[in-house]
């Protein structure tokens, strides 16, 4: 997020696009509700009529995967009605003309044809966004999990820059991240192309610095493989061994049967986890890690706030904190990796990571710190891009709408989208074992529009089989108007409804994110 969570309630205008905020991020949802209570304009763009869409002044019920068209359509209105922030565009951005020429095509009427959102609504929302004193855009995987995910984000950023709704309080481009430390994992260089703090592996200067700090001869310069590519490599036999810590790709990755099939081909698989997950079952060696309650450390949240995790109890049985296990493996491989505590590790992180340089456990005792925090005296940075973007001028990357990789046809006539439920989390490894959440929400169902259900002869509570080109699952139907006609929805939390057997592994060519939000399926009633 460019702006802090606490900023949201103060925004005059909120565009929540592809985020089921009150369900997937309930506490951020409180900020959105507060804004609405205080009179802010909330606009929700989502194919589903979610709880947050119910709160909105306008719900733009867009067709799945048509976000670029909608965002370009808004840009079109803003440019053609001369509502854009000329001072900001002139002083802080470049390539405006390129955006202008791409957006020209996306008249509200043309955009209506792609998105299904009435032209008048597009005009109104565009004007409101442009004219607001401050306006924020919130998004999650509804924007990113598409073959055009990166372009979707570009389209969001274009809009923010066009109106100067960035680099100031209560505004910005704000992805709400879905996992406790997904921001931190990225910050720590758990990506194939960067070290900590997004320092590129292809830079000779960066590698030289890490080589000297880590005491190793030659760090690899070639960017590595992403998770999807690693699984493909395993399938093809080019990847022979994998070390998986705290991940469950067998349930979380698209085309899940294929993920399991690929992992089985490995010569050696080690999985480090707190439960014997579907992925861990395939391992040659399973290492028992510690839960968040059993170790010290830090998580970095979606607004870049680094916060302490504190050990409350001893690890169960013979389990060990994951940082100790990694050190043990490194030492056994002949590399002396030794630390007294996670505080020591953070000292090293700060020494190699400019954006974390001022962060220490001593400072975190008095509260979280938002990076960039370059020095020990720096207060942290709640709002990014104030006065200047990190690359200098903000560059408009105009993007064109492309349809999803799979669109409905006569064999698979419905769009399947997946997401989360409030009471559960990811592949259910934790939330199915709480003694409470799984009691409260014990069974998954398929949301299907009543009109579609009637055509299929499906009644409330009937068991149905949902099939895509890749696989099928069986679950109970719930007739609802939350999903529009032509769309079905369920979550990926329940191992017995392993919906990722169906989803499409087609990926965004830049970020390699799979198109989990759109694939084509058919639904049949089970007799």
């Amino acid at each position: 997020m460019t702006n802090p969570i606490g900023d949201i309630a103060g925004a005059e205008f909120i565009l929540a696009i592809g985020t089921n905020t009150t369900e997937s991020h309930p506490i951020i949802g409180l900020q959105v509700k507060k804004a609405v209570r205080q009179g802010s304009i909330l606009v929700v763009a989502d194919p589903r009529k979610t709880e947050v869409a119910d709160l909105a002044k306008s719900h733009l019920q867009i067709k799945s995967g048509s976000d670029i068209a909608l965002l370009n359509g808004m840009a079109n209105v803003i440019i053609s009605e001369d509502l854009y922030n000329k001072e900001f565009v002139a002083e802080r951005t470049e390539d405006f003309e390129a955006l202008k020429s791409v957006a020209a095509k996306y008249t509200p009427e043309y955009t209506e044809g792609i998105t299904g959102v009435p032209a008048a609504a597009i005009r109104e929302v565009a004007r409101e966004y442009a004219k607001a004193e401050n306006a924020t855009i919130l998004y999650t995987m509804g924007i990113t999990q598409h073959i055009c995910g990166t372009h979707n984000v570009f389209a969001v950023a274009n809009l923010a820059m066009l109106c100067g709704q960035i680099g100031k309080p209560h505004s910005g481009v704000n992805p709400l991240r879905g996992q406790n430390n997904v921001q931190g994992a990225c910050d720590m260089g758990a990506l194939p192309n960067v070290f900590t703090g997004y320092q590129p592996v292809i830079s000779d200067e960066v590698r030289a610095r890490f080589e000297s700090n880590w005491g190793c001869k030659q760090l690899p310069a070639k960017p590595g493989l992403t998770v999807g590519e690693l699984l493909e490599g395993a399938d093809k036999g080019t990847v022979k061994g994998m070390y998986i810590m705290g991940e469950n790709p067998v349930l979380s990755d698209p085309d899940a049967d294929h993920a399991a099939h690929s992992l089985k081909k490995l010569e050696f698989l080690v999985v480090q986890d707190i439960f014997l997950t579907e992925t861990a079952r395939l391992a040659d060696v399973v290492l028992p890690g510690a839960s968040f309650a059993e170790k010290d450390g830090t998580f970095s949240n979606t607004e870049r706030r680094v916060q302490r995790v504190r050990k409350a109890v001893e690890p169960v049985g013979n389990a060990r904190p994951d940082w100790r296990i990694i050190c043990d493996v490194a030492c056994a491989m002949g590399y002396a990796m030794q630390y007294d505590s996670p505080a020591d590790i953070m000292k090293e992180i700060a020494s190699v990571t400019p954006s974390y340089a001022g962060i220490s456990y001593e400072r975190l005792e008095s509260g979280g710190i938002q990076w960039p925090c370059p020095t020990a005296g720096h207060p942290g940075t709640p709002v990014l891009h104030v006065g200047k973007f990190s690359r200098g001028p903000g560059k408009f990357h105009p993007v064109e709408y492309v349809p999803p990789a799979e669109t409905p046809d006569e064999h698979y006539p419905l769009v399947l989208s997946t997401g989360r439920r409030r009471a559960h989390y990811h592949t259910g490894t934790m939330t199915m074992r709480t003694g409470a959440l799984e009691v409260y929400y014990s069974k998954e169902h398929l949301e299907i529009n009543s009109a579609d259900a009637a055509k299929l002869g499906v009644k409330e509570g009937d068991m149905v089989k949902v099939t895509s080109r890749r696989g099928s699952v069986e679950l109970m139907a719930r007739l609802t108007e939350i999903v529009p006609e032509g769309m079905v929805f369920t979550s990926f939390h329940f191992p017995e409804v392993a919906i990722n057997k169906l989803t499409n592994p087609a990926r965004d060519s830049i970020a390699k994110i799979p198109e989990l939000k759109v694939c084509s399926v058919k639904v049949e009633k089970i007799a």
């Binding site: 996992q179 430390n181 194939p192 979606t302 916060q307 504190r310 060990r320 409260y440």
Partner: protein
Amino acid sequence: MADVTLTINGIGVSVPEGSTILDAARKLGVFIPTFCYDPELSRPGSCRICVVETKGSKNLTVSCATIARDGMVVETDTPAVLEARKTILELLLANHPEDCLTCGRNGDCRLQDYAYMYGIRSGSKFAGERHTYPLEDDNPFFVRDMNKCILCGKCIRMCAEIQGNNVVDFAYRGFRTKVTPAMDTSLAGSECVFCGNCVAVCPTGALQEKVLRSSARTWEIKKVRTTCPYCGTGCNFDLNVKDGRVVGVTSCDGDVNGRALCVKGRFGYGFIHHPDRLTSPLIKKDGQFVKATWEEAIGLVAGQLGSIRDNYGPDSLGVLTSARCTNEENYLLGKLTRAVIGTNNIDHCARL
């Protein structure tokens, strides 16, 4: 904003304009009891336990809802104030189960605290009809015992003003007044999302976390502040620990969330001690997992990773690290991947 200066119990104090008498008293360190007051919520001033005497006023003044004025002279412990507070407590206890011996909030209850403080042994002075509501425990998260409710309304305001859901409100009138969802159903039959934020502000035992309050007395608990392991919001809370086990989660004043939590954060901790937890390294032999020592397991992992690297090159290995683990752990696994194995084949499920 300008300051106003007033006198409380003979001591002068200056507070910003708009502050209440209660704010001023707290600044001075002068104790005033409260039930319905909460700094984050609106102030109905309805419970009257915080009354004080202000010079020139015929009636006692509600300190939590009265704005301090320049020159105000306030007394917080006069006989009239004490009598009013004692009467309020006697009236509340007259319709209270008084089962502190077995109540889960024993030791962490404002009603109990003030009864002790003002020497109220029971509500027998106003003995009469008592409520006999059935216990509401038809959800897995918390128990509602409306017999212990003092109608302070904090749960109602929390639900409306912070959670924004407006699930509960006062229903009925007079002695029959109770806090309830629409149509007087149980919460399980309502739109309640079980965030438990009402439980976090309840001053008595009317709302109690099921597991926490039945597994530990309040004074047996050690609280450890930490950060939630679920979504990316980064809520802070206190893990409640007894005898080396996490028995509950309670709100603290989090940087991001204040006291608010969601159903997962507040009630989703049971996995920590679940019997399915892995407690020993496992090595697969003939298709079956066999328990192993750490030395065996680490040795095997290091040996296998090393030999694959040596035979096929470092890029034949891949590492998936975790958006669930700490920064420190992700950093170290990155270091292992790049400096020890020698590949950039490291990723995690950021995209999922």
